[in-house]
């Protein structure tokens, strides 16, 4: 079972805040899911490396194409807030 501290730590890493009730519900569900995926650890994978992602073809690279820049208005019109051509976000406050 995940502890309160563990789920809060994951919330923090994922930048998702759960309220108290949701946290309780999720703690149980996530613990079940983690228990479920833990079955993986019983699988014998001797001889299989995770490292090599095998692809039967050679990856291709970009050779430099014409600019695909968007018009700034198109970029900013979707933003919740913008100012003078910039995206605007709340202040970054150092918690110390």
């Amino acid at each position: 079972m995940l502890s309160d501290d563990e789920i809060k730590h994951i919330e923090k890493l994922a930048r998702i805040r759960l309220d108290g009730n949701a946290r309780e519900k999720f703690k149980g569900q996530l613990s079940d899911i983690i228990e479920f995926v833990r079955t993986l650890q019983k699988v014998d994978t001797t001889g299989f490396e995770s490292e090599t992602r095998k692809t039967p073809f050679k990856p291709f690279l970009r050779e430099g194409r014409d600019g695909g820049e968007l018009e700034r208005d198109k970029v900013l019109e979707q933003a919740p807030e913008n100012k003078n051509g910039f995206f605007k976000v709340p202040p970054v406050i150092d918690k110390d």
Binding site: I10, F36, V37, Q41, T45, F60, F87
Partner: protein, 478 residues
Amino acid sequence: MELNKKSISELKELYSNGSVKPSEVVRACLDAISNKDTEIGAFLEVMPEDVLRRARELEKESPEEMPLYGIPIAVKDNICTIGSRTTCASKILEGYVPPYNATVVERLLDAGAIIIGKTNMDEFAMGSSTENSAYQITKNPWNMEFAPGGSSGGSAAAVAASMVPVALGSDTGGSIRQPASLCGVVGLKGTYGRVSRYGLVAFASSLDQIGPITRTVDDSAIVMNVISGRDPFDATTIPDEPGDFRAGLGRGVEQLKIAVPVDLERWDIDAELKDILKDTIEKLEEAGAKIEPVNFPDMDASIACYYVIANAEASSNLARYDGVKYAFRAEAETLDEMYERTRGEGFGDEVKRRILLGTYVLSAGYYDAYYNKAQQVRAMICSRFEAIFSANDLVMLPTVPGPSFRLGERIDNPIEMYLSDIFTTPANIAGIPAISVPAGLTRKGLPLGIQLMAGYTQEEKLLQGAAMLEKIYKFNKG
């Protein structure tokens, strides 16, 4: 002549002999949508004026040059379309309008298709019932109390209800094939890299594939011919030219070796579905196929592997929804509060569960036990499939262990919901093509589907086999 019920191949015929015009076909589909979709809820957005304008523009062109001339198509709401909302059925992308088209959309438009609207789905394609949409519930056209499956439930329902002849879905762990099975339509997921993912809002990058949902196998092949192929905007697309996917459709199954997993008994498979499978085996043998019992890769491990990899990738892919650049932002005084509240309020429960799980399996101290181990299991499953396909042409098994389930029935039991993907996730894990073909109805009138898988890049064989199943089942005709 109910034009909305015609298949793509039938419509092509009608266009080429000049007996109908795109605007008539589009009108028939729009009428079907307005008659049925209030109840079914397959579409999140339909733009009748744009659709009719496009149809009339096409009327100035010749149908011969365009493989999808005048074909109305619905597109899952996680595929970017310029100028129309693409929300992934999520509140966090409410009102988002992309400034670019997905590569598949460009290809469809170049081929003369008419994009008629965007279909409902589980939020960010996470789910198997389309109930995880932030906007609406979609009902199974066969029985309005049942789920259409998911995550491409809107696309499957739209095709099943003859609102369109074809819809695009996306399949990360079965999200095309499972709703196709539950709605009695054909759903195809190609080889990983067959269809460009550029403009498909990512769920799990190493598993996602776009594919068609249609009423006939031939229609699936026609659409795959248009949307497949290397894309300079997607480095994971296969460089070879795909060839003609319709080429094998009439060939029958003589000499084909079809493998059937021996241990299907282990799974709680619906009795009527078991009968269908048994009957299919007999008919295929009659048609000259050779049925081979095989040991299938460990499916429990496969689904656990799937949930680790898919959610790890998702936790990173969905990090960009943060309230800075587009769509939803929660009010906040500080940056961290904005992040946490935007994501806490903008994502639904299933998405949050998966992001949190994905974050957990990648976090310090757990990476090796979960993510790294899952990658090893993945390598093992791939190698197991390679062995199977070195000796066999196709694998046949159910798409889903049973028919559809009642809306609301599984929503609070994530693991039970996950287990309905047991037969579909292996194809995503291994990156191989797979198709669901409608096989019949239960006594209660709910569709059942049979799935075929083929080896890497062997879509032609896959469709060859699927065409035979279609012939055996006569689902759409009977």
